[in-house]
């Protein structure tokens, strides 16, 4: 089955979309031995891949572990600039949006690209920074830089910056407008998209705008289930569940993604026009 006038699916989000945890070699071994399933690239067993396969679309899987709304906004605009508005109109965008509070999108001249800076503030009662990690990607796939590359000088520079020139709340707030701006931009151009929000912090200041946006663009899975994470926790389909507590990793598991994608496919079919013709016959 094809989606009418859609030839590409673009997906952006965090580890919840990128197959976080499923890149670990020992976890892969467990799945192979206990369930007889195996994969090379963890993105191949995520909902975005299943959805694009089902509809016979090309997949641009731009989700990345550790990333948040800032990277999602930047990369989506970059993608549209790259392919042009006309091609973007033939793309279905799937967004999984997480709070930017722990997820800083930062440019690094050393690699001439953006890095993912994850910060934690939960070890101290006074809200001090307690942990910081800098990576290009947490996954070993498509990652030209080892984790050690950023240790030492770069991490220390970034820490200094975060200490002096970063406030997690102010940083998060900045993207409330930019995110709703992205959605209205897509609407204005007639570009199809669905989103899922891990929590409502980024939506709250523009609640009344999201009333309409939600009706049209919220990916509805089940009552009170808004992301793969909610879904997999509810149905006990996290990596931890599926590996029978081999790991504490509660990212969506292999079967969790599969089940989630089945419901997402039905939802998309109910919203978008489909056809049995080949996509290239329609474009």
């Amino acid at each position: 089955m094809k989606l009418k006038n859609i030839h590409t699916i673009y997906c952006n989000g965090s580890s919840l979309s990128a197959g976080g945890g499923l890149y670990n070699i020992d976890v892969k071994e467990i799945y192979k031995n206990s369930h007889g399933v195996e994969w090379d690239n963890e993105k191949d067993v995520t909902y975005a891949k299943y959805i694009s396969d089902y509809f016979g679309c090309k997949l641009v899987h731009d989700a990345q572990c550790g990333s948040g709304a800032p990277r999602l906004i930047r990369r989506t605009y970059e993608y549209i600039q790259k392919v042009g508005i006309e091609n973007a109109k033939k793309t279905l965008f799937l967004f999984e949006i997480t709070d930017p509070i722990h997820r800083v999108d930062m440019f690094c001249k050393e690699i001439n690209d953006y890095i993912i800076v994850n910060v934690r503030y939960d070890d101290y009662s006074d809200g001090r920074l307690s942990d910081l990690s800098v990576v290009y990607s947490y996954s070993p796939n498509d990652n030209p830089y080892s984790d050690n590359f950023f240790k030492g000088k770069i991490e220390s520079d970034v820490l200094k910056y975060i200490d002096n020139f970063h406030d997690p709340i102010v940083y998060s707030n900045r993207f409330q407008g930019d995110l709703v701006g992205l959605f209205t931009f897509l609407d204005k151009l007639g570009i199809q998209y669905y989103y899922m929000f891990d929590n409502t912090k980024l939506k709250n200041p523009f609640d009344e705008v999201y009333v309409d946006l939600d009706l049209k663009h919220q990916l509805i899975i089940e009552d009170d289930v808004y992301t793969t994470s909610h879904f997999c926790h509810k149905h006990k389909l996290t990596i931890k569940d599926e590996t029978h507590d081999y790991t504490e990793d509660t990212h969506p598991g292999y079967f969790g993604y599969k089940k989630f994608s089945e419901i997402a496919i039905d939802f998309i079919k109910s919203r978008l026009e489909t056809t049995l013709l080949k996509t290239n016959e329609l474009i």
């Binding site: 600039q81 440019f107 520079d157 970034v158 910056y161 930019d178 209205t184 523009f206 705008v209």
Partner: protein, 586 residues
């Protein structure tokens, strides 16, 4: 300025808007010495202030020297969050957008707020784009604490420079705001928030040129000047020009801001001031124009009054202080009204107000000998409009149009087309035609009576007018109700006997019975319960019988057009509706 809908003007931009150059104390002194101009707060002599004063509107002036698109985007969203969407709709946003390449919006923990970091890359010996210097602009934080340049000099500036050298790329930074700026504009558009912009250069527009092509209306560009610096630079209106070379500062000067404001005020007025478009028949055409055309009734009435009265369009125009474009034409039919609209609707903009005065449904058009349309005013002493069409024929057609309210469905469909085509939602409909419905005497044609298998299927009995029910009762020998238990064979028997059979409630709720009737060979004509005239009137302003000339003049002028008082009543009703529905006006 009754049409001005904004209570606030919000401005954001760079030094070009913030009065850069006029903030320098030495320049202020020279303005006083040379031109006897006191510049206190330089923002008070910038174009936004003049614009806000002209429109008697509160000004929020958030432009700042060194500010660029990143700051503008962030602060605009913040402002909207702060005041709420409803208040933002009462605000006119004006943006002056400069390239972010030298303008970084940077958060600083030491002051708990953002600062403007201006970066230069102009080392003569360097072709690699290394930072040559940075400057952190003086800042007043949201809680009102002022920090001058000196506060940032030394440690903070050094730390920022070191960071930027390693973690900032001016091109990448700029690229990031291409989308975010388009996102802001889309957000404003989607939420019906009015804004206009000027771009210093097109770096931020080019990647989404196709998108910006559709935003042309928002661009304040004029005479080839896309921004105030170009206007003041090319016209010798910079600070340097004002001060006769006392300084090299090329920011817009005192006169540059003043003259630029005058041009922008005119552009804003042209873009935002609504026009009133009226379409209709002689009730819409102005008395002045009737008098010029020597319409006897209008001339007589004007003579009796001793002046030319205003019709509703003239009254609305002066009440709202807007121009009227009157496409009313005496004696025309609804087809001509619709045709005129189709020819002219492209002139109507988003803020405009449109009033349609529909005429009697009995009028229609035929072609005349010179291949043009001519409106037929039936049952009047007008001569024949085409030698091949008898007056008796046109009268028969007119009678048909007056007898069956299905003709109002046509007007209802015109209204749907009008609403779909118009960019504005400020469209109002009225008619002088009375709102009662007259039904014919019969529902059976001779041909139908001759058919011994034909019954009339009438849809929803309960939802029908009493007059229509009476008509059905009078015109039927037997009425069957599909909502009750009925024998379809008995119906067929009655029909074949030549009885006039009407089956009521023959609608989708009784599909099975309809199918059964079809199976046994009953034929039917469908009669809808819908009163199309009533349905059409739901689109109109509440019906009112406005005062006529005959009544107002105590029969001195024998004419049934709306009188001066009638037009005043109508304009009052329209004004109420406009106020009720038009959130972007008054």
């Amino acid at each position: 300025m009754k049409w001005w809908k904004f209570n606030t003007i919000y401005v954001n931009g760079s030094s070009l808007t913030a009065g850069g150059g006029m903030n320098v104390p030495m320049n202020k002194t020279e303005y006083k010495r040379l031109l006897n101009i006191d510049i206190g707060d330089e923002k008070n002599v910038t174009y936004p202030k003049y614009i806000a004063d002209h429109f008697s509107t509160k000004l929020i002036h958030e432009a700042q020297s060194g500010g660029g698109a990143p700051r503008l985007i962030r602060m605009t969203y913040n402002h909207i969050q702060k005041v709420g969407i409803e208040n933002a709709r009462k605000t006119l946003f004006l943006f002056e957008i400069t390239d972010p390449v030298h303008r970084i919006d940077f958060y600083c923990e030491k002051i708990n707020d953002y600062v403007i970091v201006n970066v230069r890359y102009d080392n003569e010996w360097d072709n690699e784009g290394k930072i040559s210097s940075i400057q952190i602009q003086e800042t007043t934080t949201e809680d009102g604490i002022y920090y001058d340049h000196k506060f940032f000099e030394g440690e903070i500036e050094n730390e920022v420079k070191i960071y930027l050298e390693k973690y900032h790329n001016p091109v990448t930074y700029t690229k990031k705001f291409v989308g975010e700026l388009a996102g802001l504009f889309s957000f404003l558009d989607a939420n019906d928030i009015e804004y206009f912009y000027m771009f210093d250069n097109n770096t931020l527009q080019t990647p989404f040129q196709k998108y910006y092509d559709k935003l042309e209306y928002r661009d304040l560009k004029f005479d080839g000047y896309s921004c105030i610096n170009q206007f003041s630079g090319f016209n010798g209106l910079t600070v340097s020009h004002d001060l006769k070379g006392y300084t090299d500062d090329l920011h817009p000067g005192y006169y540059g801001h003043k003259l630029y404001a005058e041009r922008i005020i005119k552009i804003l007025t042209d873009k935002l001031k609504p026009k009133l478009f009226v379409f209709g028949d002689s009730h819409t055409q102005s008395f002045e124009s009737h008098n010029i055309a020597r319409s006897q009734w209008s001339v007589e009435y004007s003579n009796l009054l001793g002046y030319t009265p205003k019709n509703f369009a003239d009254v609305l125009s002066s009440e709202l202080d807007i121009d009227v474009i009157n496409y009313g034409k005496g004696g025309c039919s609804n087809y001509t009204i619709m045709d005129t609209f189709l020819e002219k609707y492209n002139e109507i903009q988003k803020n405009d107000i449109v009033v349609f005065g529909w005429t009697t449904e009995s009028r229609f058009r035929i072609a005349n000998e010179v291949n043009d349309f001519v409106d037929i005013m039936p049952f009047s002493p007008h001569p024949k409009q085409n030698d091949d069409v008898d007056k008796n024929t046109t009268n028969q057609i007119a009678l048909n149009k007056m007898t069956y309210n299905i003709w109002w469905k046509e007007i209802n469909n015109f209204i749907k087309i009008i609403k779909d085509l118009l960019l504005t939602e400020n469209v109002y409909f009225w008619t002088w035609v009375e709102n009662d419905t007259k039904y014919p005497d019969r529902i059976w044609s001779e041909e139908m009576l001759e058919d011994d298998r034909l019954a009339i299927y009438f849809s929803r009995w309960g939802a029908s007018d009493e007059d229509l029910k009476d008509l059905i009762r009078k015109n039927s020998d037997v009425i069957y109700d599909y909502n009750t238990d009925i024998d379809v064979l008995k119906i067929k028997e009655d029909v074949s006997k030549g009885l006039k059979v009407v089956i009521i409630n023959a609608d989708d709720n009784n599909k099975t019975k309809l199918e059964e009737s079809n199976k046994i060979g009953l034929r039917f004509k469908h009669f809808s319960h819908i009163n199309h005239k009533k349905e059409c009137f739901k689109n109109f302003i509440p019906y009112r019988n406005y005062m006529r000339i005959l009544e107002e003049t105590n029969n001195k002028v024998d004419d049934l057009h709306l009188s001066e008082k009638g037009h005043l009543q109508l304009s009052k009703d329209l004004l109420n509706e406009i106020k009720k529905h038009s959130h972007n006006l008054l």
